[in-house]
């Protein structure tokens, strides 16, 4: 702890820790000193360039910039003397000398720091007016506009780009009056490293950086600001919806709010406009004579109730299944599974977590007893080493990606990346191991082989906290680095170096995602990583852990709240009679003890005719599931399909009844992010047309099916969840209004759990599982010589239902492309941008080629966002035997010029 010192600011005695700047000391004491180039809230180093924050030191009689000058014991500081006011007025006058005086029509008016200080200091006309050379604002991409005439060259945007976002895209260019902020000129947007995150807009103190679409849409005092949670990835960033006339004008952020501390990515900042898209569903639809036609709620819900009851009576409850949604709130998922379990009477409920992290939930539960991210996002600020495997973090979880980059760049924490592609993080990595797709077990086993051979294991941790260590030793013994090199094609020397760096770090964090889980060996991969972490004692402490990054905003919550076929909320097993009795009592219904079907099993059962009806809430299996030709046949084979969504998705187009639901911006509730953090979202908009809250629709339907259930407000559902779910036991609506909480949080006094397994694993002892390398199900051969891997890109999300209806995101990337190594393209005479035909044993698509050495020769990569070229027409529905997750990451394809 630094020593406390005492100084006097404007006759007030102020005590602060040594090392505090004068500005910070003054702000702490409630004394405001004008400042422009520096904003302490962002935690960026001061540049002392604007000279507005000068203060007078009595002893020296001199003026010093308070933003960078450290407070000292006994110092006497004056912040508001006539001399200072004169100096500050001069600063503002100089800034205003070539600044347009168009505050009347400037969008920043009311929120502009320059305007604020000119007002405070009474600057009416600059004393040194310069005839400004008219300069047109520059708009490089679809979103960000730079108006050089309004720029005061404070450099905040450059700083945030370089030091927080770590894109390093913009800098000062030129000199004198010609100085401006810019991307390197001549670079097209695609060539530039700018990710269009727009964080430069939020830090800009004037109107120089702005969002094109927000121009003229409303000023500070006309906008209502509603904080809520971003609906895209699992990071769970806090966003501020700036609303005018029931429309979100702009998304902003604030450094004091949320896990993102003010940073946002291109999707969170510019990709929200889908909520007011003209294609939003506004009325229930019923299929009549093969066509979906508008109907009333009564007609639609009565029809659904009657059809579901008929099917239930005729074929039994297990002939019906439900797909819940990782896009919906915790409360909605809770109600959904309650509806399926208590009203229908089956455990056939699952959701898309099956397609992303089912192997995590199963694998980590077996090894540790809890299948979630062990540590927190904040831990990347203290970790000593990060091992990223199978996660393209900067594109799929951009805010966490930036945190990892900061650790590597600013703290020199070693970054080990294992990925078949040369993803952006490899530019920052100490080692990049470019393993062949589907060979992760061999790679991780070899790292453990090195750790054991070189005596780098944490023996005390193994002895005190784990079991079955001997079995692990036996299993990894044959996996020498040389042997693994043959399987993975990663040089043995790199494996050895990576193993040493990881094992020797005091606290090392493993980060992984779909590259690990979406394999027929997904559970094995997860178990291997769990082994590696236990072997080195990297669990139960800050900065360590096994950290699966969840793909969707609320996929963690949908799992927690039991949109899964084998558990009740809080992972309480359905085949446990005591738990069954507990929920039967709470829900006043007879429940089935038989675990239900998983996503792919549901589709298969539908195809076989065993399943008669499916109720889908906010999912789009027609694009998201493997082998979509098969999915289409299965859904068409159903007697009855209900889809509840905000758009007429590819799946909804096949439905018998479509129910219009509400988007995140229109509802209250909670989301649980990837680090188990339960956060409140707040309604800011009125839902369009007749659309209704998801839980409200489900409760109405339940009543029509003879099950009395009703809630006045989502807080009542939250209370019911807390009463039945031990890990959510202390997470009440009241507490969430002023904080967020990480589960487990068993009671109202519990502060939440930033990292799991401290002192004791959830299952008691951590369990080592011996894992053998098994090749992927379908490998390239003569007919299909390329290995296809699928995934996401930064600008789009999943099946594109949301992101492709965003103007900015669609303009950034409007068509898909398959990544091909230039050497392969050369051989096949394929030019960049040329259309190619990609075929697998299950289907074929046509799509443009993008030549890039991000992918290794003989491998190709395709995002699954595009309905016009669905990657999942190619993928294989081969499943991991335990977690039932499909192998999205490896299948064999052929490629020909189209």
């Amino acid at each position: 702890m630094p020593q406390e010192i005492s100084l006097t600011i404007d006759n007030t005695q102020v005590n602060v820790p040594e090392g505090t700047t004068i500005l910070q000391a003054a702000l702490n004491a409630g004394i405001d000193i004008p400042h422009l180039c520096y904003d302490p809230a962002w935690g960026l180093p001061p540049t002392s360039s604007c000279r507005l924050c000068l203060v007078e030191l009595e002893a020296a009689g001199s003026l010093v910039p308070s933003c960078s000058h450290p407070a000292a014991a006994g110092m006497v500081v004056r912040t508001d003397t006539e001399k200072l006011r004169q100096t500050r007025r001069m600063v503002i006058e100089l800034l205003l000398s070539d600044h347009p005086h168009d505050c009347l029509t400037c969008d920043k008016a009311g929120k502009c720091d320059l305007q604020k200080y000119a007002y405070q200091l009474g600057v009416k006309q600059p004393s040194f007016p310069v005839d400004p050379i008219p300069i047109e604002p520059v708009q490089d991409g679809p979103a960000i506009v730079y108006d050089r005439s309004k720029c005061i060259l404070c450099g905040r945007c450059v700083q945030i780009c370089q030091n927080l976002q770590i894109s390093e895209a913009i800098d000062y260019l030129g000199r004198g009056f010609d100085t401006r902020i810019s991307l390197p000129p001549g670079q097209s947007r695609e060539q530039s490293v700018c990710t269009e995150c727009g964080n430069c807009i939020d830090v800009c103190p004037t109107g120089a950086m702005s969002y094109a679409a927000a121009e003229g849409a409303g000023r500070e005092w006309e906008l209502e600001t509603v904080p809520t949670i971003c609906p895209y990835c699992g990071c769970g960033c806090t966003i501020l919806m700036n609303i005018r006339k029931n429309r979100v004008v702009q998304i902003t952020s604030h450094p004091d709010l949320g896990i993102n501390k003010g940073l946002l990515c291109v999707k969170g900042r510019f990709g929200i406009d889908f909520i007011s898209h003209a294609e939003r569903l506004t009325a229930p639809l019923i299929r009549r004579d093969g066509k979906l036609v508008p109907a009333t709620w009564d007609q639609a819900l009565d029809l659904v109730a009657q059809r579901l009851l008929t099917i239930k009576n005729q074929f039994g409850p297990d002939a019906i299944a439900g797909l819940a949604s990782a896009k919906c709130t915790n409360e909605e998922n809770y109600i959904f599974q309650k509806f399926i379990r208590a009203v229908i009477g089956t455990n056939n409920v699952d959701h898309c977590a099956r397609l992303c992290h089912a192997s995590t939930v199963v694998g980590l539960a077996r090894a540790f007893g809890s299948g979630a991210m062990t540590n927190s996002i904040e831990d990347f600020e203290v970790t000593d080493c990060i091992f990223v495997i199978g996660s393209n973090t900067t594109e799929c979880h951009p805010i966490i990606g930036s945190a990892i980059k900061r650790a590597a760049v600013q703290r020199n924490a070693p970054l080990i990346v294992a990925d078949p592609r040369a993803i952006e993080l490899t530019e920052f990595s100490t080692i990049h191991m470019q393993q062949k797709g589907g060979t992760d077990v061999a790679l991780i086993n070899a790292m453990m082989n090195v750790i054991l051979a070189e005596d780098l294991a944490d023996k005390q941790f193994i002895a005190e906290r784990t079991e079955d260590f001997d079995q692990l030793c036996k299993a990894v013994e044959p996996y020498t680095p040389e042997f693994a090199e043959k399987i993975t094609s990663v040089p043995a020397a790199d494996i050895i170096r990576a193993a040493r760096i990881y094992a020797q770090a005091p606290a090392a964090s493993i980060v992984y995602s779909m590259g690990i889980t979406q394999h027929t060996t997904g559970t094995d991969n997860v178990l291997s990583l769990a082994n590696l972490a236990m072997l080195t004692g990297n669990l139960g402490k800050p900065g360590a852990g096994v950290n699966p990054l969840r793909g969707q905003n609320n996929v963690q919550g949908a799992c927690d709240l039991a949109a899964l076929p084998n558990v009740y909320p809080g992972y309480q097993k359905v085949d446990n009679p005591d738990l069954q009795a507990k929920f039967e009592k709470a829900w006043a219904a007879k429940l089935s003890p038989k675990p239900g079907l998983t996503v792919v099993e549901i589709i298969n059962a539908a195809a076989q005719g065993k399943l008669k009806a499916i109720y889908i809430m906010g999912e789009n299996p027609m694009l998201s599931d493997p082998d979509v030709n098969h999915v289409e046949k299965a859904l068409k084979n159903l007697d009855f399909l209900v889809v509840q969504d905000i758009f007429l998705s590819e799946t909804a187009q096949l439905a018998d009844v479509v129910l219009p639901a509400t988007a995140f911006a229109e509802k209250d509730g909670t989301f649980t992010n990837t680090e188990r953090r339960v956060q409140m979202l707040r309604a800011g908009l009125e839902p369009p047309g007749q659309s209704r809250l998801d839980w409200d629709i489900l409760c109405d339907l339940a009543r029509r099916m003879g099950y009395p259930v009703s809630y006045d407000h989502v807080s009542q559902i939250q209370d019911e969840i807390a009463s039945l779910t031990p890990i959510y036991g202390g997470i009440t609506y009241d507490r969430l209004t002023h904080q967020s909480l990480q589960w487990p949080c068993p009671d109202a006094d519990h502060p939440g759990t930033p990292y799991l397994h401290k002192g004791r694993f959830t299952r008691g002892l951590g369990k080592f599982h011996p894992v053998e390398f098994i090749p992927a199900k379908e490998l390239p051969d003569q007919d299909y010589p390329f290995l296809l891997s699928t995934g996401r890109i930064l600008e789009h999300f999943h099946t594109g239902t949301m992101s492709r209806r965003s103007e900015v995101l669609d303009e950034l990337v409007s068509v898909g492309a398959i990544e091909i190594n230039p050497a392969d393209a050369d051989r096949l005479a394929i030019a960049d941008g040329q259309n190619v035909r990609v075929a697998s044993r299950r289907g074929q698509i046509e799509i443009a080629a993008r030549l890039t050495d991000r992918v290794a020769p003989a491998t190709v990569f395709l995002a699954f966002h595009y309905r016009e070229a669905p990657a999942n027409r190619l993928t294989i529905a081969a499943l991991d035997p335990i977690a039932k997750i499909p192998e999205f990451k490896v299948c064999a394809v052929s490629i020909q010029p189209a």
Partner: protein, 161 residues
Amino acid sequence: MPGEKSASVEEIDVSAARKIAAGHRAQGNSLVTVLQDVQTEYGYLSGEVLEAVAEEMEVPFSQAYGLATFYSSFSLQPRGKHHICVCMGTACHVRGAANILEKLERDLGISSGETSEDLKHSLESVNCLGACALGPVVVVNDAYHGKVSSRDVDKIVADLE
């Protein structure tokens, strides 16, 4: 357009720039020093060359570009085979440097700051070369011409190959 013959038209070999940067980096020298030597090697700093230097020095491309545009001694356009500098400092100015520059612009068909399309000539005005006693001063490549008159300009231009 003069000066627009950008580097991207023909492939530029950036290996020399990489070598220079690597050498300086090993000695812990600053980016400015590297850019000076790289400009000497290539005659100017193209986008490709700057990108290679930035990569080699492990600094952001944006920062290398920013630096190159800050100092007027760095040129982002290809310079001509003959690079002509006209001093416009006070001493040269009072002795008619403006007329000299104007005549050069007319005779070469390019404005100050431009390069001729055939990459033969480039023209630049500078603020002071520190050779005030010799004013007006014109520097062609590294050769100084003092007390230059309009007639001398004809001779200077005629001598350029």
